[in-house]
Amino acid sequence: HPPCRGRKTVRTLTLARSTGVPVLLRPSSMDAKDILGLQKTSFPSAQEKKPRAPKEPQRKPDGVSREVYALTGGVGMAPLMPTIEASHLKRRPAVEKEKVAWQWLPFTSSARTDNLQLYHWVRVVNNVPPTGDYDFAKYNTKVDVLKYTDEEYEKYLTEPTWSREETDQLFELCQRFDLRFIVIADRFPTARSVEDLKSRYYSVTRALLIARARSFDEVAGNPLVKETFNAAHETERKRALSALFSQTKQQERKDAEVLAEAKRIMESRAANKNVEEAGAPTSLPNAAVPADGVSPLSNNLPSSAATHPAAAANTSIPDTLRMLKVYLRTHALDQMVQAVTASAGIRMIKRVDQTLQDLGVNLKPKVPTKAVCAEHLELRNEILTLLNIQKQLQNKEAEVLANRESSFTEAPTTPKVHAEWVTTLFSLCFCVEDI
């Protein structure tokens, strides 16, 4: 047996040694058989002269490697669009039409007031350097801080709490720091608050503008003239902001709870109002109730509970019905049911329907007489009340649970604050009873 010298050699050997019996042209098995001297299977002679590459059922596409194609069999391949054209890769360093060079050139900027000479890389096209100002000069915004003359100061700008020197210093700083008042306040020689400085600056500028203008209307559009700076408001705002920022977590939670409570009350009241079309005025508590404003909330509730009319839904007719000269009882019932559930969400409506079904009551009465419709409407109202109370109870229970958990991690609240809180809830409970 010939020694195993590598495929190529063996193959040639095989072909050369054709014994008249044609051979199957599959390299690996042929080599093995050759080495082992085994019998080779025979094929018609026509195939002998075929090209070396095995003839596959169909030609392998170009975008796919041989192994992948053999493995997949050509099934499930992505569209074979070329992603990178090999021809393009060679072509990249193409010759541009213009001649571009980069040069280290000096430049000036209109933003600079000194004559400092700076250099930078510039893209020069066809030996023509670019013209124009430095690109970033346009970002150098400046504020027009007005300058007053002595005469103007005497005439319009004197102020008991501000000396001439102080005002001058202020304006110089404003000019220097582009009206960045925090910085100006920092640098101001005497101790003055930011609001104070702003106030002085704005009032001086405003007075100057008005004085210099020929008529008031000319500058009336100027925002400096239109709005006046409200120092008190600003101080208050900043104080409130810092208070909010430095609130403890517990305070935050309390606020959220109170607001949620207020919202719920307002919603339920709005819902009732819808149903009743009540002329009785219901006093609405302030929506923005701060943590320490709990008592006004509780004061309002009893009064509105008293004015809450007895649920007489069948006497209040929706406007759409009033217009009709004739209508069907079922249509009237539909309208009134819609009016009742108008404020409730779709989920609530579904729950009401489900409850009706559970009670064995037809969603639409089979015998809709006046009495039956009235009873039906009353029942729906009562179910709504029931679902609302259920929700309240759930919320309350969750709250108790949360309180219990938090009580282990946080310092206990003062009894006074808590008392107020409980007072609200208790009075709310009373109102729920009254409904």
Binding site: V361, K396, S407
Partner: protein, 275 residues
């Protein structure tokens, strides 16, 4: 305030004349009102609602042996008073709008009984439009009913004797009837007037009897709609719900009173100060 009319003694005898007299009496009892008010016809009575309970629907019979592919059922669509009284007291005519595949699908019925019989094979929605007498209401009223020919799935084979009946109860409500209209019908058995004790039945003259549906050929299939069952069920449901509400309210108030762990309990009087 309720109108004085409802307190007036009901007319002793039937017919239009006594009713007018009673009304005239009532009118005279009102201070500063001329007995013959020219606006009487158009004056609307507020707070007085007059309603007419009706039943409308279809009854359909399978034709059995005589059934063909395009003619398998004979059916009747109708609208009647719930107590089988005469509806022509308010209804001038009824228009039944059938499926366009019927010839002349718009069928007008000008006289009681307000019904229409046909035969066919298909189920479709029938539009029933009521036109009222001019003194009753200018507007028409539309009702819709789905014709049902075939019984429910599990009802077994069809029989020619037992029809498929679908009836719907409803009430035609006139919220602000004119005085004239009210006077005309307040004692009619087809009408329901709240707060008015049921007046004596109008003497049924021979003519009138013809137009009610009490002896209608199909009356054996008419359903009896009783509000008592529904009222009972509703009352029971309301009781259940009210009891549940009370229970939850108790639970809610209990939670309010629950002392919490982190609180410094200084006494109930101080905490429930609002009480």
């Amino acid at each position: 305030a309720p109108i004085i009319l409802s307190d007036s003694p009901p007319a002793a005898a039937a017919g239009a004349e006594p009713a007018l007299t009673a009304a005239q009496k009532a009118l005279r009892s009102k201070p500063a009102r001329a007995p013959e008010d020219p606006d009487k016809k158009n004056k609307k009575l507020k707070d007085v609602e007059i309603s007419f309970p009706i039943v409308y629907g279809t009854i359909s019979f399978w034709l059995g042996k005589k059934a063909s592919e395009y003619n398998s059922h004979k059916w009747t669509v109708y609208i009647r008073s719930a107590t089988n009284e005469d509806l022509s007291v308010i209804v001038k005519r009824v228009v039944f709008q059938l499926h366009p595949s019927f010839t002349n699908p718009t069928r007008v019925v000008e006289q009681p009984p307000f019904e229409l019989s046909e035969s066919g094979w298909g189920e479709f929605e029938i539009a029933i439009t009521l036109y009222f007498h001019s003194d009753v209401c200018e507007k028409r009223l539309d009702l819709f009913h789905q014709l049902k020919l075939y019984p429910e799935e599990d009802a077994g084979p069809q029989s020619t004797k037992k029809p498929v009946v679908v009836e719907t109860y409803d009430e035609v409500v006139f919220p602000e009837p004119t005085e004239a209209f009210f006077l005309r019908v307040q004692n009619h058995p087809a009408a329901t007037v709240p707060r008015l004790p049921p007046g004596p039945m109008e003497l049924m003259s021979h003519d009138k009897k013809r137009f009610d549906t009490k002896d209608h050929s199909l009356s054996q299939w008419f359903s009896n709609f009783s509000e008592a069952d529904e009222l009972l069920k509703l009352a029971a449901a309301r009781q259940q719900v009210q009891a549940h509400i009370a229970k939850l309210r108790r639970q809610l108030s209990m939670i309010e009173g629950m002392p919490q762990q982190s609180r410094v309990i200084s006494g109930p009087g101080q905490q429930f100060g609002h009480g």
